[in-house]
């Protein structure tokens, strides 16, 4: 390309590059530096601490507990939401009365802030005034939804209520891209609807579902808002995600060094997913 055009290219991309360097490179440097320092809210002085923070994090039972909870939670919601999203996409993959309206309704959770959703969940699940416990009591079911025994599945269900819309939408979009001839020829060959789903739809959609599951897994790994507002990580620390643990370590305990070390460990944990995600996108440039 000609020289003038190269200058223009750089000029057009410069706000982006400037932004990246201020809000990515500089913070990454700050994060690394903090992780390698003794940096407490209670002490004015910040002193170099080598790898002390990393050692302390790895020896801390709460860190492993939070990590274990996060992994189990992320896997559970991803599997559940992909199954429900796929089922719902199959339902929508045909004409039926009210489809347009119900499609809009199905997308509503995507448009609502998870934190506001969490406030509404607390309202409808409230033991004294909530509609859900009220209904359950009418049927003679007296359980505390926030009890330690049920809290995990309560949180998984609430996550599914918010994010099934997302998996549904993406799986549905992938389904719409399938060539209809495949279906037609299978139907002509006498395949039953169930056979078509098992032998044709699922195999063709597999790559798309894999990438959707991967996106959900990564996103649910950083769950913060909903659980923090619902339970604050409790009862005790039983529902503490790694994100909540990092936040609390930094802004409640006041240990920035340890919290930074944890977030770096978290990034290292997610790094293996990067090439997988990048490969899924067609990045050819004209």
């Amino acid at each position: 390309m000609r020289g003038k055009s190269r200058a223009a290219a750089f000029l057009l991309a410069s706000p982006f590059l400037l932004f990246l360097s201020i809000l990515v490179i500089w913070p990454t440097y700050l994060g690394l530096k903090t992780a390698l320092s003794r940096d407490l809210l209670s002490e004015f002085e910040i002193t170099p601490a080598g790898l002390d923070n990393f050692r302390m994090v790895l020896e801390q039972p709460q860190f492993w507990e939070a990590l274990r909870f996060t992994i189990i939670f992320a896997l559970s919601v991803t599997v559940l939401e992909c199954l429900l999203g796929f089922a719902l996409a199959l339902v929508f993959d045909r004409k039926f009365p009210g489809k347009t309206f119900l499609f809009s309704v199905t997308l509503v959770p995507i448009m609502i802030a998870p934190s506001l959703m969490a406030v509404m969940y607390r309202l409808i699940l409230n033991q004294n005034i909530g509609v859900v416990p009220g209904f359950l009591q009418k049927f003679g079911i007296e359980i505390s939804i926030f009890d330690e025994r049920y809290i995990f599945w309560t949180l998984v269900t609430l996550d599914a209520l918010q994010y099934t819309s997302f998996t549904f939408l993406l799986i549905y979009a992938a389904l719409q891209n399938m060539p209809s001839e495949v279906y037609e020829s299978a139907a002509i060959d006498g395949a039953s609807p169930r056979q078509i789903i098992a032998r044709i739809t699922i195999p063709i959609l597999k790559p798309a579902i894999a990438i959707i599951a991967m996106l959900r897994l990564i996103d649910s790994f950083r769950t913060f808002d909903t659980i923090y507002i619902m339970t604050g990580g409790g009862p005790g620390t039983t529902t503490q995600t790694i994100g909540i643990h990092i936040y609390k370590t930094a802004f409640i305990t006041g240990d920035f060094g340890m919290a930074s070390a944890m977030s770096i460990l978290l990034v290292m944990l997610l790094t293996p997913f990067m090439p997988f995600i990048i490969r899924q996108f067609r990045l050819d440039v004209k």
């Binding site: 057009l12 991309a13 802030a113 969490a118 409808i124 909530g130 997610l270 004209k286």
Partner: protein
């Protein structure tokens, strides 16, 4: 296919829909009832004719909720504008002028994977140094950072879909790069702009983590405000419900109006190829 045959699908989809909308119905239902009815149990039907919960939420009871609402609006609109301003020229430069090649898009994608929580401590320190903690500006920057990748991907794929011949003709006619971007590309970017606009608006309106770390009172948006409501005014469920009902409206209205672009944008940003 005959429509009447698939009534079961209507039932199944309605069932899902009811569950999805249950929290919203619950909030509206509570906001419309009197305090007395709310306290007496979930099935006491006594409606408040004065809309007092909504009036309280909008300032009658001395809450700051109206200013939270204004903050959310300023943050979201500011984020949309800044995001478009940064990502559209960059996408054009990358796709059509070959700037940085595919690796710039790769970096942007890699950023999408980094958890926001990784950035909260550095941002907190950086913004403290720059004097931008608890400011609208600061939250606009943080939210732009979050939304930039998706915007870049959406614009890149939208520009790729345009026929190159139009630009070529403009170049031949002596139009420069900026002129082409402004008067040829921009007018054709309607759907892309709508997709970026609606998604960025939803995501920045929804932000909680950055807001809870980077704001304390002046710049607090509705998400943090509503969550604090629950803890500080724990028993005032009627007012909380009214506040939440109002808070979910702007993105809901905007996104329902631009639903086509929401769907397109999400699928372009999430799965391509």
């Amino acid at each position: 296919m005959k429509q009447g045959r698939n009534l079961w699908a209507t039932f199944v989809a309605s069932g899902f829909g009811l569950f999805f909308l249950m929290p919203i119905f619950g909030a509206i239902y509570t906001a419309l009832r009197t305090d007395n009815a709310i306290a007496s149990g979930p099935f006491v039907w006594e409606f408040d004719r004065d809309w007092s919960h909504f009036k309280n939420a909008m300032g009658a009871a001395g809450y700051d909720f109206a200013s939270f609402f204004q903050n959310s609006a300023l943050i979201s609109i500011g984020t949309v504008i800044l995001t478009v301003f940064i990502s559209l020229p960059a996408a054009y430069s990358i796709v059509r002028l070959g700037f940085g090649g595919a690796w710039l898009l790769r970096i942007a994608l890699a950023l999408r994977i980094l958890p926001a929580v990784f950035f909260i401590i550095p941002f907190y320190k950086l913004f403290t140094n720059l004097g931008m903690v608890d400011s609208i500006r600061g939250l606009i920057l943080a939210n732009t950072f979050v939304n930039l990748t998706l915007a870049l991907l959406i614009f890149a794929s939208a520009i790729k879909e345009l026929p190159y011949e139009i630009e070529e003709a403009a170049f031949v006619d002596g139009a420069g790069v900026f002129r082409t971007l402004w008067s040829i590309i921009l007018p054709l970017m309607g759907p892309g702009l709508a997709a970026v606009g609606v998604l960025t608006f939803i995501f920045s309106w929804s932000d909680y983590l950055f807001a809870v770390v980077l704001s304390s009172s002046e710049a607090t948006p509705v998400t943090v405000g509503a969550a604090n409501f629950v803890t500080s005014y724990g028993v005032r469920w009627g007012d909380i419900s009214a506040a939440v009902t109002l808070s979910i409206l702007p993105p809901l209205i905007f996104a329902t109006a631009a639903q086509r672009y929401l769907v397109k944008g999400l699928s372009a940003g999430a799965i391509k190829g």
